[in-house]
């Protein structure tokens, strides 16, 4: 048993590079992407995958064991793609986008500085005329969002980046949260920030992150 403390966590935002096409992806305990051209990924590079598998489209992964020469193969660390129900064989091809230029979002509040919403399973209700009650069956999960609340300081370097990202609607950005135990949580998100702060004891800025898809967590 363990409980991971949040104080000491750090939030980083990056940018994506140009699309690099991969021609196939395997069904394996760790999926392997195959590129026709050298994707120039080194081990531990971070990339977003956007391909035929909607279940993980927009998820962010860490590169593992790049072959470095043709055929250009890169493993998406931690991505278990063995289920051909979720990941139909031969249909996953698409693009990756390497993440870089990480900037820390500083002055995140220690209490209530990071909160999440969504991700919960929704249900459909149905019934039968002859039965005097309703039934539920699982439907889809609600989209996931994160809120990051910072003490406002518009002179900080990250503020301009986040503001620009907020104005760049329809474009998602890579993020990761470094937890005090060394674990990292990667995701891609649409960014929204209000230029009008909250006026409490201190000026506070809230950054709303709407996740494109899911989290990818690494222990270190």
């Amino acid at each position: 048993m363990s409980a991971i403390g949040v104080p000491g966590s750090k939030v980083y935002m990056g940018t994506y590079g140009a699309a690099k096409a991969f021609s196939s992806i395997s069904n394996a305990s760790e999926a392997v992407l195959s590129f026709a051209a050298d994707p120039s990924l080194a081990a531990n590079d971070i990339f977003k995958m956007d391909g035929g598998w909607s279940e993980v489209a927009g998820n962010v992964f860490r590169a593992k064991s790049p072959s470095g020469s043709g055929p250009y193969l890169v493993t998406a660390e931690g991505f278990d793609s063995q289920s051909t129900t979720l990941y139909p064989a031969g249909t996953g091809a698409g693009n990756i986008y390497e993440a870089s230029s990480w900037t820390q979002i500083t002055q995140v509040k220690d209490e209530g500085g990071i909160s999440s919403s969504g991700g919960d399973l929704t249900f459909k209700e149905y019934g039968y005329l002859e039965v005097g009650r309703k039934f539920r069956q699982p439907d889809v999960r609600n989209p996931v969002g994160l809120q990051v609340v910072c003490y406002e300081d518009v002179s900080l370097g990250w503020y301009a980046n986040v503001l620009a990202a907020s104005k760049n609607r329809g474009v998602d950005y890579p993020f990761y949260i470094l937890l005090p135990n060394g674990a990292k949580v990667y995701f891609s998100a649409y960014v929204s920030i209000s230029e009008v702060p909250n006026f409490g004891d201190y000026l506070e800025t809230t950054i709303d992150l709407s996740l494109v898809n899911g989290f990818q967590r690494y222990a270190s």
């Binding site: 949040v6 750090k10 500083t106 509040k109 220690d110 209490e111 500085g113 003490y151 004891d201 201190y202």
Partner: protein, 117 residues
């Protein structure tokens, strides 16, 4: 400058306050044989603005000011003078109360104030 230092400077330098208590403005400890009326104040708490990484960017300091006198009317007059001195400054007035020292019969009008440092 600490909140206490700032408050002392503000009150002991305000003509409306000193007209009533002279310079008998005391942080924390009140001298044993002080003449009345007088003002005492002490820090009751604080609320730091702390980041996830543990940096303290600022702090709100809460202080209670007690305006002691032999009569309720004068204690309230002193409290009014203190509130007037705080008006227009960075100090925030957060409410009032009262105290009675049964041993001496003295009465106090108290003010809860805070300052963002």
């Amino acid at each position: 400058m600490s909140a206490e230092t700032a408050l002392y400077a503000l009150l002991s330098g305000n003509a409306g306050v000193t007209a009533l208590v002279s310079t008998r403005v005391y942080p924390d400890l009140i001298p044993e044989k002080v003449a009345i009326p007088y003002i005492g104040f002490e820090r009751t708490g604080s609320a730091p603005a702390t980041t996830l990484e543990g940096s303290v960017l600022a702090e709100r300091v809460d202080i209670v000011i007690a305006c002691w006198s032999a009569t309720r009317i004068q204690a309230n007059q002193i409290a009014d003078a203190v509130r007037a001195a705080l008006a227009g400054t960075s100090w925030r007035y957060a409410g009032s109360g009262s105290e009675v020292d049964e041993a001496t019969g003295r009465l106090a009008a108290t003010l809860q104030v805070s300052l963002q440092t």
